[in-house]
């Protein structure tokens, strides 16, 4: 019943072919089969955001997607984003603003923030908070995380327009 299935996908630019059990989550596949342990596993029901990865260009929950579903897909993890320098400014600011405390939520935070940065526009702080609302930090270091993202957005795209009201 739980026979393995062969899948071929691109992970951080490299094509990999492996066999996976149908019930294996994509994040477990990345960590267990490929050794990419940068993506973390938290709640395993889509609430905490620690397992956030990029699937075909979009941030998704690694625990709410099966590895078999990624057959033919393009997957990127924190390792890939680090290597490509796409978010080096975000990473630098996370360090400067002490936005990584225990570090458990950090890869997920960065993957979500990367999508915000990729949207290519300035954003008021409240909107950044809303965008990041799907990622938990159990150290409760939210202010520093929002500070870091706000700083990067301003550095890249300038100050946001004043909100009405």
């Amino acid at each position: 019943m739980d026979d393995t299935i062969e899948i071929t996908l691109t992970v951080n630019g490299e094509t990999v072919t492996r066999r996976t059990s149908p019930r294996q989550h994509l994040v477990d596949f990345l960590r267990g089969e490929l050794g990419l342990t940068g993506s973390h596993v938290g709640c395993e029901h889509g609430v905490c955001g620690a397992c956030t990865i990029r699937l075909d260009g979009r941030a998704v929950r690694g625990c709410l997607t099966l590895a078999v579903q990624a057959d033919g897909a393009r997957v990127e993890t924190i390792e890939g984003l680090t290597e490509s320098s796409e978010i080096s400014d975000l990473q630098r600011l996370f360090v400067e603003r002490n936005a990584a405390q225990c570090g458990y939520c950090t890869p997920g935070m960065l993957l979500t923030a990367a999508e915000l940065v990729a949207a290519g526009q300035a954003m008021p702080r409240a909107a950044i908070r809303d965008f990041m609302s799907g990622n938990y930090c159990r150290c409760t270091g939210y202010q520093a995380i929002i500070d870091a993202i706000e700083h990067v957005l301003e550095a890249r795209f300038g100050a946001p327009a004043k909100e009405e009201g």
Binding site: P22, R23, G134
Partner: protein, 294 residues
Amino acid sequence: MKPYPFKYVRAEGLAAVFQQFEEHGDDAQVLAGGQSLMPVLNMRLSAPRVLVDINRIEELRGIALDGGEVRIGALTRHREVLESEVVRTHLPLLAEAMPHVAHVAVRNRGTLGGSLALADPAAEMPACAVALGATLVLRSAAGERTVAAEDFYQGLYETERRPDEVLTEARYPIAGPGYHGAFQEFARRQGDFAVVGVAARGRVESGVLSELRLVYFGCEGHARLARQTALAAEAGGRPYTPQVFAALKDALAEELDPMENMHGSRATKLHMAQTLTGRALQALLARAGGAVHG
């Protein structure tokens, strides 16, 4: 936790889905975006023997303007609905509600059809479908039928969909000029499940409401169309005033029976529903360009 073992079938077309239904009956479960199903599987609250992945069925995807309606394929991701120019132009209520549907990574994967078919009592999309008078398309090996959204929702996670059917599309009629919508939701955190919410749509002429539809979620077992409350708000064709709002609150207290849960008692939720209704109607009237009172 990890799901119980299951057989995985990737359906390339609807015929393959119906074949799995035929072979496995209730043991076959459709996997769309998986943003509600996967948590349930991970927590082992459900253990289907066969998971039928419909994510590659292209015909179930897309947003199209078709005569007097907007047709949205069941597999269309929440994000695609949120970013759709057609939706923003013709179904502004849907565009207004969508940012409240979960968080970005979930919206990137979750589907409109999945949300409509699951019928979570706190979900935004069923309520909007009822408010907008949408029609839902169900297909099975035997053919296709359509059900009005307001008839589709029967109870807690209970719908008109038979086990051998797949919800394939939602059709939203485009309202003419003079119709406006408004959406209000209270949640503990942006994107979390609604504690209470209301989707409103109606016609406004010289500050007078008509054809009003008020649909509540996070309250009863399913999206609840409150007809008596809407009639009270329409006030027999008189303009909306604080007195009308008072009458509306009384009508809602009679008509709505919110379920008590961890988010609040019946009384708390009723109070929220009344307050949110007031806000929704003010927004709706403001959009119509009319005078707005208390």
